[in-house]
Point group: C2
Chain length 440, copies 2
Amino acid sequence: MARHMIIGMHFGSGYGSQPGAWRMPGVDPRNYTNFDSQVRYAQAAERGKFQFLFVPDFPALKGDIATEAPMISVDPMLTLAAVARETTRIGLVATGSATFNEPYNLARQFKALDLMSHGRAGWNAVPTSDPAIAANYGRAIPPRAEKYARLHESIQLVQALWGSWEDGAWMHDQVSGRFADPHKIRPINLQGQHVGSSGPLPLPPSEQGQPVIFQAGGGDQGLIVAGHYASGVIGAVYTIEDARAQRMALRNAAEQAGRDPDEIKFFPGLMTTIAPDRRAALDRRIALNEHTFPERVAYLQHILGLRLDASQLDQPLSRNQLATARPSPQDPRSAHALRIAKEGWSLRDVLAHGIIDYHPVIVGPAVEAADHMQEWFEAGAADGFWVSPDVYEDGIDAFVDGVVPILQERGLFHRDYSGTTLRDHLGAPAQYGLDLRIRQ
Amino acid sequence: MARHMIIGMHFGSGYGSQPGAWRMPGVDPRNYTNFDSQVRYAQAAERGKFQFLFVPDFPALKGDIATEAPMISVDPMLTLAAVARETTRIGLVATGSATFNEPYNLARQFKALDLMSHGRAGWNAVPTSDPAIAANYGRAIPPRAEKYARLHESIQLVQALWGSWEDGAWMHDQVSGRFADPHKIRPINLQGQHVGSSGPLPLPPSEQGQPVIFQAGGGDQGLIVAGHYASGVIGAVYTIEDARAQRMALRNAAEQAGRDPDEIKFFPGLMTTIAPDRRAALDRRIALNEHTFPERVAYLQHILGLRLDASQLDQPLSRNQLATARPSPQDPRSAHALRIAKEGWSLRDVLAHGIIDYHPVIVGPAVEAADHMQEWFEAGAADGFWVSPDVYEDGIDAFVDGVVPILQERGLFHRDYSGTTLRDHLGAPAQYGLDLRIRQ
């Protein structure tokens, strides 16, 4: 069987990945709190056979609220509970910090979501780094080593709680009156340096046993966490070379933790503005983001090491500007930015290509996104992607109706779900309880 | 306008209030994790115009799991998120402990539920007392004074976070591009002895501004909390005299905190087994609970101060037994138990009257429940009730189709919702942010 890529969708505040998404025609500007729309967007991704939704988190107010919507869901777990009830296949991965959450509460809510969704939940287990978040909990960010020690303990505790009812413990036999087999329900009695729990968690196995672990970012420490526990890794990487290196590092980390490296899947991000042709796509990005361009001109001038001016938005970079440009080695986006500039686009169009964004950006027809994904996938730079459509209202459909059929045609993406659980979708092995091979 | 009683429904693990509910014919024995059933039960309560669902919590395994279902929802907030999406009017009150939860997390999830339900959320704010729960968090129960100090701080913090976006802060004006007015979004910067938060919480007001506070139990300390913050109090009381005294104490506590005593509503519990006549109702209770009767005989003998024997289940208490009975002043249920025994029922039927249960129990035709509720309501012993049907599958409908029409006929209960929010249903005054009148 051909190896297929796995596609997740970024599921943020309800508008899309671009700052101007909330203002676009046809978009309900109250989508931040409109769960009808959010459910509809999840259903659109499911129609496209996406394997999962990925909900990031940042429990603090961030960005310029005067002009931009928050990028984060009002609450990841409640949002996914709503989605779980109105979808049937798509996986539901939420970010939950181990720094300011109790393992028992994390274990309970993710397992409840797993039960409610019939085996589709995943926990993106992360530490918290931002002082603004710590301040919301009346504390300071702990030292990095302590945060990661607590993260390791928390994941192990949560997995032990998830497994505290053995498979088969829940009998619910009305005839005999045996509700559960108490011999198959055991306390866990784990006490670490930072967190502890006696258990058991009073929840039976789900259709996938227990939720899947995801991981995101975090340098060497994050790599160790991913290697030990993660089935999926949410990446943020700009070049195919970096992606390939990160994927290899993750596979090595899994092997060093005694796992089969195929058990860990790496998903670089991809942002999309899909339109019939490049010009239409650029115009869409301009309509979305032009208010941010003056600020981005300043940043572009910095990473290209030359003088630019917002008054130049209608013109391409001059021969002299292009000649003196020195792409900053500090910013992996700078070489690509210069390449686009050299194609002769106006400065406005250069910015409309999304050269300063969080991930590689496709601004063009569907086939360009499919080509990008195929190239990275076949180069061993990705097991799949997490895709951020520019505007959910029509950007998900543009991907589903444009990119997905091309990938399917090329044999790169499944035509339908072959299983029902997130583990099925990821090809993640069965796991129930703490996997003792992989203790730190 | 006539004063109407307010009715809430106990919303536990998905079966009903009686230990044998999970085994009854027509009940899906997997309802503990079956959210389709739970949504259907919530809809049945809404059909009966109940003002709220009340979800208790006890985050630990409790009871005899070998033969009895857990009494607690897999997760209160996720359960209510599912219900919120598939109901339109009924209030959604969940229990959340301030002892082992961070105020920021509580504030966020309850406000998210409030937004998702369009203004129907309530937080039953409690401390935790049980060492089994503390052990699930790897800790011990803090001293009582500390727990209550943290509870006060937590409620104040949560309310301050709820109010950190002023009404009108969220503009979502697509034409001008103004998403929010940053001058109306303020940090809270509160730091107590036990908890703190900088804020703001990035969530706008709901249709009711912010969730309503409930309180349950807790003696003198609980009374102070209720007096300061609560709009609704979940009671556990056996006699009309005790209920009246508790209601008066709560009204006094509210007054001492500078509030209008009508702002605090007291809801004693009521458990129901409704059937066409007393005999049919008793038989239903016997089918539900007979396996527990041997144990309850032992307890009954204790509170009546006489010798009883499970071999006597078919016979009434003898004249001699009745003569020597001495109802225990320690258990407020003992006088009522003796009264029932003196009516000449067999020992099995005495127990089937629910004389040893958590609340007053109606085992009989609908009119008996209506009479009980009217008597307590008119005596100033209750502003309403929280009702625990014996078996959700048909017990909610029995109440809705039997008891509700009688109460409506008597002018004691509304015929339909007159508002859309939980504050509307409770007659709770508008509140947004921390109410500065009521600081401790």
